[in-house]
Amino acid sequence: MNVHEYQAKELFKQAGIPVPEGAIATDVPGAKALAQKYERPVMIKAQVHTGGRGKAGGVKYAETPEQAQILSQAILGMDIKGHVVKKVLVTVAEEIVTESYVGIVLDRETKRPVIMVSSSGGVDIEEVAAKTPQKITKLAVDPTVGLLEFQARNLAYQLYRDITQVRQATDIILKLYDLYWKYDASLIEINPLVTTPLGDVVALDAKLNVDDNALYRQAEIVAMRDIDAEEPSEVKAKEADLSFVKLDGTIGCMVNGAGLAMATMDLVKRYGADPANFLDIGGSSNPDKVVAAMEIILDDPKVRAILINIFGGITRCDDVANGLVTALRTLKPPVPVVVRLTGTNEAKAKKILSGVDLHTADTLDDGVKQAIALAGVPSEPAEGV
């Protein structure tokens, strides 16, 4: 789960990491009032769950409250990569002397948290990593020992020479590592970490991604969830305990198991069409889930055919078939449905589905081809896959 910048900054502040004064506004008068209150130039920053806000024009400098009014008017309601801006963070604009980067990420290769620092901050760190990897210093921390003070200090020395700044940065890095564990982060990042003309080290931005698997013990983070900022169909899927990702194609997919769901999508592409979604109904074969899944797929007006691919191992094909019968009866899908069921209780399932208005396939490849043919979409040439 991602939290917004203003929420992450609140957590940073509580932990003692210096951040500029700021508050959230949901409308133009609110933004203007904040700028008036601070009596200083401010930054207006769009709060959306996507990167590249700055490039998209979602982060602006306002010298006066009047400018803050005009700029927040432009930013509120703006569409950034499909995310509509509903909140802006109004924050005191700091004068910047240097910009650095500090981040901690769960590294799959070393199976450890890795701290990364770079004196090239304020830009896309992935670009820095790709083009000038020598500008990034990395440290894999032994998770059973934790981050030691000298390690944090050595990293701080990669950023600053002045001892008071090194001390400030050491303290920030140690606190950031504590936050990483406290909030079960998969990523925690300050970009940029700046120095001001007075010599202070301040976190101008804050990013925190929390491991979904740890949300059961992160009530504080769960309370920060901004459902408005998420894709509605994905919210609905989450409520039904389905794993769902919306895509742009025309073939709706319902599959058991994440790997098989991806493979099914890949085959749709291979045979000349595009998948409308990723959807994993999971290991259990609760018929209600099948109904919910069908409903979510049908909510997408682009869907021209539905492909159901079930490999029964633990999932029992007859349970899925029962759910399917209910779904077809209650939802009356206006598009053709192709079903491929194989494995545990396959014969029973076929009996349940005999006489029901749908198309059946014996193999995965056959199912995909049938669904594409029935969708009747003139297929666009596949993009170099």
Binding site: E109, K111, T144, A258, G259, M262, T315, T363
Partner: protein
């Protein structure tokens, strides 16, 4: 021989009184796995499907000599269950549980390896050595004993591949599901190494997916250290970046972890990648044939050069011997003079 589990596997099921633990304890027992014990704190002294239940792992291991455990406990308690198993002296822990926080895993994997144990999973279907033993939830009905080793990050996709192999009459030595989480125990390389060393295994199917760089690492390992034919399938060619595709580990982040990169790395290591999981048996047959022909050609070439060398050596040796022999004769002759 198979890998990791065989006739000697004596299994304890952690969380045996739960819904999943109880069902799969029964299914594993039916398949022929020696399920010697179950553990659920507070349920010690009872029985589940005739299997004795203990309160602690220490008790279960001391009393039943179990050497392997399967973890079916809920995610909140799963990590503790792994520590407990290792602490009780278990050498192979198979964690089926899905939903364990990744940061917890970073600590437990260190503990496991520091104690000389092996962890498979979490979030995995377990493993099966057809005809002898299964630990986990893979359906026993789809496998067939044979000599193909299967290793995969997925569950049902693996079943699809195994089923295709079985239908093509290509049985399996062992099938290992290593799990779909970003941080897990046993990886592709551990399995490839074990399959390479296993005499029953003659060829290998590796099923990967987007996220991380394990497949790339495996490709490099295959190139250097695996002599047996390997074919692969990689899921997620159509997955968008930045979105978690069901499995916690299946995410393209920062432009890395894409299917294209993985396929390129595998191809570069001489591993063909199938366009569909159902095409794996055919691809494997072709690859086995190709490697056989290559090996035969190599053997023929070696034999040819060897014959040349030996014949050359023999002539030289004979000449030398002849020379040696002739020397004393010369000496003798000179003496006579």
């Amino acid at each position: 021989m198979a890998i990791f589990v065989d006739k000697k596997t004596a299994l304890v099921v952690q969380g045996i009184t739960g819904r999943d633990g109880s069902l799969h304890a029964q299914l594993m027992k039916e398949y022929g796995t020696k399920v010697v014990a179950g553990v659920t704190p507070g349920k010690g002294g009872t029985k589940v499907h005739g299997i004795p239940v203990f309160n602690t792992m220490a008790d279960a291991v001391t009393k039943t000599k179990a050497n392997t455990s399967a973890v079916f406990v809920p995610p909140k308690f799963a990590v503790d269950a792994i520590y407990e198993a290792v602490d009780a002296g278990i050498k192979l822990v198979v964690c089926i549980t899905e939903g364990i926080p990744a940061n917890d895993m970073t600590r437990v994997v260190q503990y496991v390896s520091a104690h000389g144990a092996r962890l498979i999973g979490g979030n995995c279907p377990g493993l099966i050595s057809p005809g002898t033993s299964k630990v986990g939830i893979m359906p026993g009905s789809i496998v067939k004993k044979g000599n193909v080793g299967v290793v995969s990050r997925s569950g049902t996709l693996t079943y699809e591949a195994i089923w295709a192999l079985t239908q093509a009459n290509m049985g399996q030595s062992s099938c290992v599901g290593i799990g779909g989480d970003p941080v897990n125990g046993t990886g592709f390389i551990d399995c490839l190494e074990a399959f390479e060393a296993d005499s029953q295994t003659k060829s290998i199917v590796m099923i990967g997916e987007i996220g991380g760089t394990d497949e790339e690492k495996a490709a490099a390992f295959i190139k250097k250290r695996v002599s047996k034919p390997v074919v692969s399938f990689i899921a997620g060619q159509t997955a968008p970046p930045g979105k978690r595709m069901g499995h916690a580990g299946a995410i393209i982040s920062g432009g890395s972890g894409t299917a294209e990169e993985k396929i390129r790395a595998l191809n570069a290591a001489g591993v063909p990648v199938a366009g569909s999981p159902t095409e794996l048996p055919e691809l494997l047959t072709t690859q086995i044939k190709k490697l056989k022909e290559k090996a035969a050609k190599k053997a023929a070439r070696q034999a040819a050069t060897a014959t040349k060398k030996t014949s050359a050596k023999t002539t030289k040796a004979v000449a030398k011997k002849a020379a040696k022999k002739s020397k004393p004769a010369k000496k003798a002759a000179s003496k006579r003079r």
